[in-house]
């Protein structure tokens, strides 16, 4: 082997910035000149966020309630009044006081719950007997019903407590001498329990997962479709150099997307931002590194744009919604599913975003565990995709 050959041999193993920069430059020009795709890439995240943030809400109020009042006294009417005054229930007038109509309306989804006030409600209370209020719920919508039942119990417990105190004081006792334990709940970081406050950061992560993976997978697949990939394989350009050169411009584009989404979250949805923008930027970069890597893996397998779009939607969107802790708590999933959730990058970003958004006084290391996972998986994804890109075709 001549010395010249040796030098070439060594040179081949190393990444060369001289080859990466032209790729980056070319990719930037392509992004900027493809105006239609650029507008979509910038507007889609914002539109998705606005649409879904309104659609996805867990605040339940105005549950349709059927009322059957057999007692028809001022007490029974007062109980119904307490239900409507709470704001959580709305009495359906069409089936008022008819059990038959209530059942029918429940079956046809006109109401969600039925409240039955029994005969002799008033006399039983006056005589100090236990009174049973029947509450029927529509179990086909168990999520709403379990929340509705909770509201019910709270309202009834309050009425019952008041009755007890009245009784006690009417017998000549001082109300203040009756022993009671009262909880004093304080919810930190989101005191009003507004669901937008944690839905918006979660949605931001899911949307960015989709957009960033989609953009990268499309950019590589497009080279395959336009035959430029074959041309590139014939040059000394290495797969990893191509990956890096292609990823960097998209990181910039995705950072702009994140900025837009976060601004919409803060300014439009009034999600409080208590953390630091620098910490947000760092964790966003880590997440993008990971998400773009996932996009590259998809593009290594996909041969055309349709497959790439399908693959990205299935591979990122569903896991990000279901296995990220966005709505369904991971801790209550079976162990195997919990294990799978570890490879979902959105899981870490959601935790990081919610923490940075809502908790004051967070720094770089508050969610460092999440950051480490993102870094590790990003590295795995990128190296795996560079390996799967053959330096030959066919």
């Amino acid at each position: 082997m001549t010395p010249g050959e040796k030098k070439l041999g060594r040179d081949t193993g190393k990444l060369n910035a001289k080859r990466i920069i032209p790729v980056m430059k070319k990719e930037f020009l392509h992004i900027v000149r493809d105006t239609r795709s650029l507008v979509i890439a910038l507007l889609a995240p914002v539109i998705l966020l606005v649409l879904y943030a309104y659609a996805v809400t867990f605040d339940i109020n105005k549950i349709d309630l059927g009322v059957v009042d057999y007692d028809r006294t001022f007490i029974s009417r007062e109980i119904v009044q307490k239900f409507t005054a709470s704001g959580y229930f709305e009495v359906n007038k069409g089936c008022y006081n008819s059990m038959e109509k209530c059942v029918k309306t429940l079956r046809m989804n006109g109401i969600k719950m039925i409240l039955v006030l029994p005969y002799n409600l008033y006399t039983d209370i006056k005589k100090g007997r236990e009174v049973k209020l029947q509450v029927i719920g529509d179990g086909s919508d168990s999520n709403t019903i379990s929340i509705g039942l909770g509201y019910c119990q709270a309202i009834i417990a309050q009425i019952s407590g008041n009755l007890m105190l009245e009784t006690v004081s009417s017998r000549g006792f001082d109300v203040k001498s009756v022993p009671m334990i009262v909880p004093v709940p304080r919810v930190w970081y989101n005191p009003e329990l507004k669901s937008t406050n944690y839905i918006v950061p979660g949605l931001a992560a899911i949307i960015m997962m989709l957009i960033s993976a989609l953009l990268t997978s499309l950019t590589i697949v497009r080279e395959k479709e336009h035959n430029t990939y074959e041309q590139l394989v014939a040059t000394p350009l290495k797969p990893l150099e191509l990956m890096i050169g292609k990823i960097v411009p998209y990181i910039v584009l995705c950072l702009i997307d994140v900025t837009l989404i976060v601004s919409v979250g803060i300014l439009w949805f009034h999600v409080p931002f208590k953390g630091s923008f620098i910490v947000l930027a760092v964790y966003t970069l880590l997440f993008l590194f990971c998400a773009l890597g996932l996009g590259l893996i998809i593009s290594a397998v996909a041969e055309n744009q349709q497959v790439a779009v399908m693959g990205t939607a299935l591979g990122t969107l569903l896991p990000s919604i279901l296995l990220s802790g966005f709505v369904f708590p991971i801790a209550s999933m079976p162990v195997i599913i919990q294990a799978i959730s570890y490879v979902v990058p959105a899981k870490y970003y959601i935790v990081a975003l919610r923490t940075i958004f809502l908790k004051a006084g967070t720094g770089f290391f508050t969610v460092w565990g999440e950051g480490m996972f993102l870094l590790v998986f990003g590295t795995i994804f990128i190296t795996a995709s560079a390996r799967s890109f053959k330096k030959t075709i066919g």
């Binding site: 050959e5 081949t12 060369n16 080859r19 070319k26 430029t228 074959e230 014939a234 000394p236």
Partner: protein, 315 residues
């Protein structure tokens, strides 16, 4: 001294059970225009892809610019320029940006690229078009941009895979003049084509069929070797009828081919006697025809005869 740019030794490529390239050996000299002629599916593109390090050979090896394509594909890639079948350019970039990109990934410095862009633009006769967006240009010009990209880094060898496919004849002729200029300046040009007339531009050619080289050499040599006897040409308005009439004559025992309104006949008989016989047969069948004339064989003739001979031997 003869300097060899490409030397293929028993190069073979199999895709499953199918042998796309079957033990192909040849040599290309430095500065030569070397053509691969063959129908689609003959194995030209597979061969060129192996030589460029895009496909790994199943067996055999080739030395390209002094490096083995098996052991040193990376070094080979640095030395060659490649233009794939469909000109693969970035359609949203300008001519200059495309050239700059390819020159860049071959490692040219910014200063070198600056001086090189006008040079290659002049070479492929694209002066003044540097700022045009490639996607808006016609096919013939795109082809030249693709060539400019392939030679931006001054490769020792350029591989052109069907470079003139789908380009109009006038631009094709200009393109070949550019190729000639490249070869005159010492660049080896390896080109595949299925246009028979185009190979006349090549110094030497290989004719490929069914994954094998069935003939190699300069064009005059090949013509002489394939056609010992001259070709007799007849013009007629009923070519198929004429073909049948002549083909079924045992005395003539000719090799007959149709070229539009022209019929080419080669026969083992004495030329003058053959001409008389042809006239007689056609008159008997009352076919309108011009007097049979002797003509130089075209590459079409050569190709058809070679393939027929090869097929006959194979079966």
């Amino acid at each position: 001294m003869r300097e060899i740019s490409v030397r293929a030794e028993k190069l073979e490529k199999k895709f499953g059970d199918f042998t796309a390239v079957d033990s192909v050996s040849f040599e290309v000299e430095k500065g030569e225009i070397y053509g691969f002629l063959g129908a689609n599916g003959a194995g030209k593109t597979t061969t060129i892809r192996m030589l460029c390090g895009l496909l790994e050979p199943t067996s055999g090896d080739a030395m390209v610019a002094g490096y083995s394509i098996k052991k040193d594909a990376d070094a080979v890639k640095r030395k060659l320029g490649y233009m794939s079948q469909k000109f693969s350019l970035y359609s949203l970039l300008t001519v200059e940006e495309n050239i700059e990109f390819y020159a860049g990934i071959y490692g040219l410095t910014d200063a070198a690229i600056k001086t090189r862009i006008p040079e290659v633009c002049a070479l492929v006769e694209l002066e003044g078009s540097g700022a045009r967006i490639v996607g808006d240009m016609p096919g013939g010009l795109k082809q030249r941009v693709a060539l400019a990209c392939a030679i931006a880094h001054k490769p020792e060898i350029v591989f052109l895979d069907e470079p003139t496919a789908g380009v109009d004849p006038l631009l094709r002729r200009r393109f070949w003049e550019i190729i000639r200029g490249l070869s005159d300046s010492g660049t080896t040009v390896f080109v595949t084509t299925h246009y028979m007339d185009e190979v006349e531009h090549c110094n030497r050619i290989s004719i490929m069929h069914g994954g094998r080289i069935i003939k190699e050499g300069t064009i005059p040599d090949i013509k002489k070797a394939v056609f010992e006897k001259p070709i007799i040409e007849i013009q007629t308005d009923t070519p198929v009828k004429t073909y049948d009439a002549l083909n079924n004559n045992e005395e003539l025992a000719g090799d007959i081919s149709i070229h539009g309104a022209l019929i080419h006949v080669t026969s083992g008989m004495d030329t003058a006697a053959a001409r008389g016989l042809i006239a007689k047969i056609l008159k008997e069948q009352s076919i309108n025809f011009t007097q049979p004339e002797e003509v130089e064989p075209t590459m079409d003739d050569v190709f058809v005869k070679l393939v027929k001979k090869y097929e006959a031997k194979a079966s």
